[in-house]
């Protein structure tokens, strides 16, 4: 089975993000980029499906050239090859343009299954996988906590507001995974060495049939018009527990008349 996994390189989520005051785009220069932790779960899910079916995994990503490091991590985990669409004209693309580019990169590879994280850890839009599925005209099973693939059917436990649903679709399909769907493996030393030799295809926008006018800041029908720090909460009382901490909290609840 051929599995495509979509990944994103994001600024290290443990560091505070910054917006460029001029362009109001996320500052990606001079910031360490990593494979989105949510996508590590996607890569792991893709590898497990491929391993169970003697299949292969192709990593597909869109982003600046230095995102290659993030892709190498996915390759080191065991993916077989990668496709990186990198073009300065893509800077500032909205979720729809991102989905158009990824769908165009996925289609000629004819996968049986496309896996993605539920949402990125930097942007959190969360509509790219559904938009990819729509552009491919495939069903999508989203918010997977667990995935099984049997014959030509994929079935998942889909997270809901109150528990989970069991949902299934015939392949080909798009599946998105939640953070807890699995425990991603660490790349082995051998995997890291092997990743260097794995092929990374870099199709251009024209090759993908993408009209540059429909992507990037120019193609986005949205514009950030203002950025401001969120109002901070007034500083509270911080006490060190000397055995009275529990009572102190109960006093506070009584003061607020909620108990």
């Amino acid at each position: 089975m051929h599995v495509v996994v979509c990944v994103k390189q994001i600024p290290d989520p443990s560091l505070a993000g910054r917006l460029d005051p001029e362009t109001r785009c996320l500052v990606r220069e001079g910031v360490e980029v990593v494979l989105d932790p949510g996508d590590e779960v996607g890569v792991e899910a893709a590898l497990r499906v491929a391993e169970a079916t003697s299949g292969e995994v192709t990593v597909v990503s869109m982003g600046p050239e230095k995102g290659l490091d993030a892709i190498r991590k996915a390759l080191a985990m065991g993916a077989h090859r990668a496709v990186l669409v990198s073009d300065p004209r893509l800077r500032g693309s909205d979720a729809l343009a991102t989905a158009r580019v990824l769908a165009a990169a996925i289609l000629p590879r004819h996968p049986d299954l496309v896996i993605a994280g539920t949402e990125s850890t930097d942007g959190y839009t969360g509509t790219v996988p559904a938009a990819i599925a729509e552009l491919l005209d495939w069903p999508a099973l989203t918010f997977a906590k667990a995935i099984t693939v049997e014959d030509a059917t994929v079935r998942i436990q889909r997270q809901t507001e109150v528990g989970h649903d069991i949902v299934e679709a015939p392949l080909p399909a798009v599946v998105t995974v939640t953070g807890g769907a699995n425990q991603p493996r660490y790349p082995s030393l051998r995997g890291i060495m092997a990743a260097r030799a794995k092929p990374v295809d870099r199709p251009g926008l024209e090759e993908l049939g993408i009209d540059p006018a429909t992507v990037g800041l120019a193609g986005a029908n949205q514009q950030v018009v203002a950025v401001a720090p969120a109002p901070e909460r007034a500083a509270g009382a911080i006490v060190t527990d000397d055995g009275s901490g529990g009572r102190r909290i109960v006093d506070y609840l009584a003061e607020l008349k909620v108990i």
Binding site: A130, F143, T160, E161, G163, I238
Partner: protein
Amino acid sequence: MARIWVYGECVAGAAAPVALELLTHLRTLGDTVEAVVLDPDGASITATLGAHGAERVYLGTDQAYRDRLAQPAADTLSALIEEHRPDLVVFGATYDARDVCGRVSARTGSTVVANGTGLRRDGEQFVVESAIFGATVQVQTRVAGGSPCVLIRPRSFAAEAGPARAPAVTLVASAIRPEHQRARRLESVSATQSGPKLEDAAIVISGGRGLQDPANFQLLERIAELVRGAVGASRAVVDAGWAPYARQVGQTGKTVKPTVYIACGISGAMQHTVGMKAAAHIVAINTDPDAPIFKLADLGVVGDTLTVLPAMIQELERRDG
């Protein structure tokens, strides 16, 4: 005057709370507000939607809207958008609506702004307010072009019914393509829960890694029982399997606005704080005095949750008894 559409999600025969919140807010903007309801039980919620501000409800009741995922609803909603060209299509950020929104965006070529917490007019256009970087930065995004799609986080507005008013109801034919019925819902499993719902509780007490062991969630359960509150959890412990997803508070979980939020052994990662920082009062217990959660806390106790929580229980039981 613009025409704004709200995707009126119907959950188990009732209007999704977020749909009522959106209508309540949008009816103040002075535009024409209409709802689209695609659900076999949709007819039962049109009056409620009308009372909250929908002047018209486009209603489709095909069984596939419930039994199949996203595609049938996206088919009909996209066809309706192309026919009526609303100026804005607003969705509540629920699991199902997010999928429908992503598909409709791709089908109609409309942009999407997600994670909205506010929405206002700016001349002829609309501006979406959202919070990024874990709600430390507020961003205003102007949308344009066709029928832009906006996803608004639940609890961004308070729902309030206006004068009872019967909306015009327009029955809409199904535009579902047969090949779009392939993703099927086979079974729904609800996690059992006692006490008030996480979203409705006046007191929410949440646990994180600092609880050290899943068994210690019992301390939170006991306190919730004593104060008639609900138990929440951070993503870290939900991902670790200590608590079910339905308990998760944060970016990928629920947004709560209780009177008091008590964070126990939660460091205060942005992923979490975005879901709770709108609480009226915040209490934090953490061993690390530099934990970011203390920046939000009205009352912070630097100490071990495994000492402080049993002391709380003892005090609550004493007052109860």
